[in-house]
């Protein structure tokens, strides 16, 4: 009997780890290719350590390293598609627009992203948006921003990563060890990634593509990625942005052609 419990527990542990993405695109969306220019606005990165008690403690040094790595990875990945990337670390870093205009657009995008998450990911689906892919726009402000700055696209990126502290891992070890005496707590958990990106077409003002990535296991100490390292950052960028799918109409047209 006890053996059976342990087998089930071990099975559960194996199942628990996963890398998940779910993307939405505008019906007419075709992933940027060839000669395009992309603005990445203030990538928002946080890396922390999960304390024994389960709180995530932000770490400045890890965050710095991860931000630098992600920016490098992003540049490399976009260059491979033919795009020119400008990364604005501060609101004042964008030529021919003032910081206040950038701030306004950033705040607008933030609330639009919030409704995308609410209505596409958190289950509050809107009947008016069914089968319409991603139907959100930042409006005229984004178009005039694009005209002034000359960028074709704008990307917003948010990335979190966290790692279990030694204490948390010890707790995890105890939890699994407990399975042998009948107190089984194999899913202490702690650590993992959450990232999302939204792409705005500055020629139309529309949010044309949105993706959410979650990576993690329910076992503290086992991570499926590490953005503190260049390889881990490249992996996250690939998982989040690498498999950008065209919109529904574009895919159907492609299918009809072939």
């Amino acid at each position: 009997m006890r053996k059976a419990v342990i087998t089930i527990a071990a099975f559960g542990v194996a199942l628990a780890g996963c890398v998940q993405t779910r993307q939405y695109a505008d019906l007419q969306f075709a992933p940027p290719q060839g000669d395009y220019s992309l603005l990445v606005l203030r990538p928002d990165v946080t890396v922390g350590s999960v304390t024994t008690g389960g709180m995530t403690e932000p770490r400045a040094d890890w965050t710095e390293a991860a931000r630098a790595n992600l920016i490098e990875a992003l540049k490399a990945q976009q260059a491979a598609r033919g795009g020119k990337v400008h990364i604005a670390e501060h609101r004042g870093d964008i030529p021919s627009v003032d910081a206040e205009t950038v701030a306004q657009l950033e705040r607008l995008n933030y609330v639009v992203d919030e409704s995308i998450v609410l209505h596409k990911y958190l289950g509050v689906y809107l009947p008016t948006k069914r089968r319409k892919g991603l139907e959100y726009t930042l409006g005229e402000d984004a178009v005039s921003f694009g005209r002034k700055t000359g960028f074709d696209y704008m990307l917003f990126l948010h990335a979190e990563d966290s790692f279990a502290s030694t204490g948390r891992v010890a707790l995890q070890v105890l939890g699994i060890a407990g399975c042998f005496i009948g107190f089984c707590a194999p899913n202490v958990g702690g650590g993992g990634q959450l990232a999302y990106a939204s792409l705005v077409d500055l020629r139309t003002g529309e949010v044309v593509w949105f993706n959410v990535l979650t990576t993690g296991t329910q076992i503290a100490g086992v991570n499926l990625g590490d953005i503190r390292t260049p390889a881990g950052a490249a992996q996250m960028v690939e998982r989040l942005l690498g498999r950008m799918k065209p919109g529904h109409d574009v895919r159907r047209a492609q299918k009809a052609q072939s």
């Binding site: 304390t51 008690g53 403690e57 609101r91 701030a103 204490g167 707790l171 060890a177 407990g178």
Partner: protein, 409 residues
């Protein structure tokens, strides 16, 4: 670390379920003496510990957002004035702290981990003089000087660590011995949550004592801080009474801040301790009032529109203890006009206030407008026309100017 936080209490509670609160009773904390409060940091403090560095780094974007929000009161000298005040009562960190004034009609102020403070405009409205405002700012400086944010964080981390280890050990030990300890684990969880709140209350009391010491050293009357609390208690009572309810007296175990009464009493005892008999203390009332003069009408306007007549009337009457004027009388009328309850004669009360307001030389244009409308309702046409013309001459480009002109005919 704000002077009255609701949100942080909710955030703390979100960490665990609130169980039967009657199980543990909070011990009465002893008063912290201002003399024992020494700043824990010097000038130009930068964090060296890893956890504190992490906390500071996260604050950069928060500060950028606050510094760029459109709620920020445009700098017409007032922003500069509060920055100077924090320079006066900021102790060793006086030159390091930043302060932002936001247009939010509530009585509150808060300090963030990296040393910037936010003061709500509702606080400026309620302060009767510079000493009172300095008291609030000194309280917030106290949080920074005593390193409260990182101490709170570490306390939370330590307690949640202990709880997790304890629960795991209880589970393992229980399983080994063949008994179920789940109930004890739940009890421990409640104990942990309660002790988090207690630590928070202790830090608030520390900030009060530290603040008192700072204003006394800067030459303000130490009693100013307890006066502020007396005012707040009075206002909450008035607001509750108006709504036929009782004020939340703050004896709650989950309260993040000490009950207003006990805070006021402690502050009063400490202030008596710090007051030097025979010494003249500066209240800075004239300086304060002339500085906020350009926005005082806006502050009053925001307050009366909160639809809290009990509190608004109390605030106006408190400010009028330093003398009534046209502005205060006009807004007294606005409180009742906006409540608009015919059965209680609100309109009559409002009309009386407008009539008194226009007798003062500083009556705002709007007082003439509403006085004119009141006269017209009473059928005193020629007087009404005179009052409305006065309004138009004071504010020829008012949004309703065309409408008023037509009324005058």
């Amino acid at each position: 670390m704000c002077i009255r936080c609701e949100i942080s209490r909710r955030a703390l509670l979100a960490g665990g379920g609130a169980l039967a609160a009657s199980l543990v009773s909070g011990p009465a904390a002893a008063r912290i003496k201002p003399a024992d409060m020494v700043p824990l940091i010097g000038p130009g403090f930068k964090p060296v510990d890893r956890d504190e560095q992490g906390l500071w780094e996260q604050m950069d974007r928060v500060e950028e957002e606050i510094a760029g929000t459109n709620l920020l009161i445009p700098d017409n000298g007032i922003q500069h004035y509060v920055q100077q005040l924090i320079g006066k009562v900021g102790g060793p960190a006086a030159k390091d702290m930043r302060i932002y004034l936001l247009r939010i009609p509530e009585f509150n102020a808060m300090m963030f981990p990296s040393g910037f403070a936010v003061v709500f405009s509702g606080l400026l409205l309620r302060m009767r003089d510079e000493a009172q405002l300095a008291g609030v700012i000194a309280h917030e400086s106290g949080h920074f000087l005593r390193r409260h944010m990182i101490r709170q964080w570490r306390d939370m981390r330590r307690k949640s660590d202990l709880l997790s280890i304890g629960s795991m050990v209880a589970g393992l030990g229980g399983a080994g011995a063949g008994i179920y300890l789940g109930d004890y684990v739940q009890l421990a969880q409640l104990g942990t949550i309660l002790s988090l709140f207690r630590y928070n209350r202790e830090l608030e009391a520390e900030a009060d004592a530290m603040g008192l010491r700072l204003i006394a050293e800067a030459g303000y009357a130490p009693m100013a801080m307890s006066d502020t609390w007396a005012q707040l208690i009075g206002e909450l009572d008035a607001s509750a009474k108006y709504r036929r309810k009782h004020r939340d007296r703050g004896y709650d175990l989950f309260e993040t801040h000490p009950a207003a009464e006990s805070r006021m009493t402690d502050l009063r005892v400490s202030a008596a301790e710090m007051t030097v008999p025979g010494r003249h203390y500066d209240t800075g009332r004239d300086r304060y009032l002339s500085t906020i003069a350009p926005i005082r009408q806006m502050l009053l306007d925001d307050q009366v529109k909160l639809n809290d007549p009990g509190a608004s009337q109390y605030v106006i009457e408190t400010l009028a203890q330093d003398g009534w004027n046209g502005l205060l009388r006009f807004y007294e009328g606005e409180v009742w006009r906006l409540r608009n309850r015919d059965s209680e004669g609100d309109w009559t009360r409002a009309a009386q206030s407008y009539a008194i307001a226009v007798a003062y030389p500083d009556a705002p244009a709007e007082a003439w407008r509403w006085h004119g409308v009141a006269l017209m309702k009473e059928g005193r046409q020629s007087e009404a026309r005179a009052a409305l013309s006065r309004y138009l001459s004071m504010q020829p480009h008012a949004v309703d100017a065309a409408y008023i002109r037509q009324m005058i005919g």
